[in-house]
């Protein structure tokens, strides 16, 4: 039975009972991959500070877990009272999990064929330098098996801390018999053993510099925004979509696209779209739609960004809104793009589109607007109303109570001035030309 990460199953369903073997077969760029077993109580804490089984410490205190040649043998019935869980880990020596070419942990009856196994490779991991592979645990009277598959960038120290211990034990057997660990003079127990003669240093951090248990070394996920805002789409109009995404300060990408309109004298290269649109009316010139916005920042700063007049905005400073392309024909697959780099700094942004030339109305050329965030969320709007007016206020983006609300407007105007009056930005207008 091939197990997936996160999978849990009763040992009984694998026809396993009291005695099991947990075997490790891991190869990759690290000089060694040390297997390790933590002997734990019901709260996943070490039952004693040194309750670990490894190549350096081949028996648990109760003798129920033994290690030999990449394999742990477990006798569940022999576990001391209070032992409710065994966690089996893999710690690369001088390397991280990304260097694993092929890894497999298998569970079997003693000496028997594998009843279950978990396969992994370096691509399954980030910068973990130690992982918990499998766990055996008692749940409501039954022993169960799970694939954990999670770990720690700070390696063995993270593992030991996770299970309530402190310090870093050696995992490789010493060259000569060594005395038992001595308690550290201050703080928790030091689990390190004196190093044997000529043994290579462990890849784990030195025990003379134990990690603080009060500040885990885990790093916050880069995908988690600092500002906990979300995008919500106000559901006006049938083409509106609900945002299922939680968004933060990540930039919002606004795209306007449309279909190039064929000239009235079709050319051989007109192709598929030309045939589809071959009977539309209008002047014999490719449609030029322009994307732009009127914005008001939380700071009170106001302005207009559009290709007309060359106001392309600024991505690196206020208003942190940037128009990146003026697609004169609709031929570019990318259309026109506006990036709101810092949605957390805006008060409102009105996204508009207008027909500069070449089309009678927006629906004639299939005008469509989309919003995207880096998490792959997309809100699409189709400009479907064949109003004869050349200017469309498509959507209003507003910051409201820590959320970004995108409302579909699709209101048509004769020009910028009328739109401005309707939305109350209060600009003064003059004619411009590209």
């Amino acid at each position: 039975m091939q197990l997936a990460t996160g999978q849990r199953t009763a040992l009984a369903t694998l026809n396993l009972s009291d005695q099991l073997d947990i075997a490790f077969d891991v190869s990759g760029s690290a000089s060694a991959y040390a297997p390790l077993c933590f002997v734990l109580n019901a709260d996943s804490r070490l039952v004693q500070p040194d309750a670990m089984v490894s190549p350096a410490q081949t028996h648990s205190n109760d003798g129920a877990v033994t290690y030999q040649a990449e394999r742990f043998r477990v006798e569940l019935a022999r576990l001391a009272p209070g032992v409710e869980r065994l966690a089996f880990a893999v710690v690369p020596e001088n390397g991280d999990l990304r260097g694993v070419r092929r890894g497999e942990v298998s569970v079997s009856g003693p000496g028997g064929p594998a009843a279950a196994n978990w396969s992994f490779s370096g691509t399954d991991f980030g910068n973990e330098r130690a992982i918990i592979a499998l766990e055996l645990y008692r749940h409501q009277g039954d022993w169960r098996l799970m694939v954990n598959g999670q770990g720690f960038a700070d390696g063995l120290a993270g593992l030991v801390r996770h299970f309530g211990g402190n310090g870093v034990p050696d995992l490789q057997p010493a060259a000569a018999p060594t005395p038992a660990a001595q308690p550290a003079p201050s703080g928790g127990l030091n689990l390190s053993r004196p190093r044997g003669n000529g043994m290579p240093a462990s890849s784990a951090p030195s025990s003379t510099n134990p990690p603080s248990t009060s500040s885990p070394a885990s790093t916050p996920s880069p995908s988690r925004p600092l500002s906990l805002t979300k995008i919500t789409l106000d559901k006006q109009g049938q083409s509106a979509r609900i945002s299922l995404q939680k968004a933060g300060t990540q930039r919002v990408h606004v795209n306007l696209n449309w279909d190039a309109k064929p000239s009235t004298a079709p050319t051989p290269s007109g192709g598929f779209l030309s045939k589809l649109l071959g009977n539309v009316s209008g002047v014999g010139k490719a449609a030029d739609l322009d994307l732009g916005c009127m914005y008001e920042l939380a700071s009170g700063e106001k302005g207009v960004i559009q290709a007309l007049g060359g106001n392309f905005g600024n991505a690196g400073g206020p208003p942190f809104i940037k128009l990146d392309q003026d697609d004169r024909s609709g031929a570019s697959a990318g259309g026109e793009n506006l990036f709101i780099e810092r949605p957390d700094l805006i008060r409102k942004v009105l996204i508009f589109a207008f027909i500069y030339e070449g089309a009678g109305n927006f629906s004639e050329v299939g005008g469509r607007l989309s919003f995207n965030d880096p998490q792959g969320n997309e809100v699409k709007m189709q400009l479907s109303n064949p109003a004869a007016l050349p200017f469309c206020a498509v959507a209003l983006v507003q910051a409201q109570g820590g959320e970004l609300v995108i409302t579909k407007e699709e209101r048509y105007f004769s020009g910028h001035r009328d739109c401005d009056e309707a939305f109350g930005f209060g600009f003064s207008w003059k004619a411009g030309r590209k």
């Binding site: 399954d124 973990e128 996770h162 885990p216 996920s221 609900i242 299922l244």
Partner: protein, 191 residues
């Protein structure tokens, strides 16, 4: 005495808790202690008609829509890490206020971005969903997402449905391999 749920099992809420007027759905889990993105579980409900679809998008109550159109169902807030004691997310339902054309209330749990983050219910510690009497807080039914949720990122926990004059709860425990989006669309939400 909470009812231990098995898939497809029915609980008559009116019989388990006579005079039941309000119920709460609670979702709880432990914060992630290993490295990696937080486990962000989300509780959500769909108020659906006899065709099994929402009457409108407002009847999908989740982190971006905290109240149903009629106000009968309210989401008490999004928890993104599992931090805190007890239930980490709660949805309140006032059964007397549920409109007559809402035939059932489907309760689902999703791991936010679980697929892209490589997460599933079995990786989350101490995750559960439960149904409580809104008056007094007695637990009526409970589902262990950690042990029984499997390796999916979205699951229908159960349904609260009309049966004659009373409300019943049916445990479903059906995972959705295709995740959040597929789950939401299956109830007719425009997402």
């Amino acid at each position: 005495m909470p009812v231990s749920l098995t898939k497809g099992g029915n609980v008559s809420l009116s019989k388990e808790a006579p005079g039941l007027k309000k119920i709460n759905v609670g979702l709880g889990w432990d914060t992630r202690r290993t490295d990696g993105a937080d486990f962000d579980l989300d509780a959500m409900v769909f108020l659906v008609n006899d065709a099994g679809k929402v009457r409108n998008d407002q009847d999908f109550v989740f982190f971006n829509n905290k109240s149903s159109s009629d106000g009968s169902v309210t989401h008490q807030g999004d928890n993104r890490t599992g931090a805190g004691e007890g239930d980490d997310e709660v949805i309140n339902m006032d059964l007397e206020k549920v409109p007559a054309d809402v035939q059932k209330i489907v309760v689902a749990v999703v791991i936010y971005e679980g697929q892209t983050r490589g997460q599933n219910f079995g990786m989350v510690e101490k995750a559960y969903a439960r149904v409580l009497n809104g008056d007094g807080g007695a637990e009526i039914a409970r589902y262990d997402l950690t042990e029984d949720g499997g390796t999916v990122t979205a699951m229908i926990f159960g349904e609260i449905y009309r049966n004659g004059g009373e409300w019943k709860f049916k445990a479903i425990g059906q995972g959705f391999n295709d995740g959040f989006q597929a789950l939401v669309k299956s109830y007719g939400v425009n997402a």
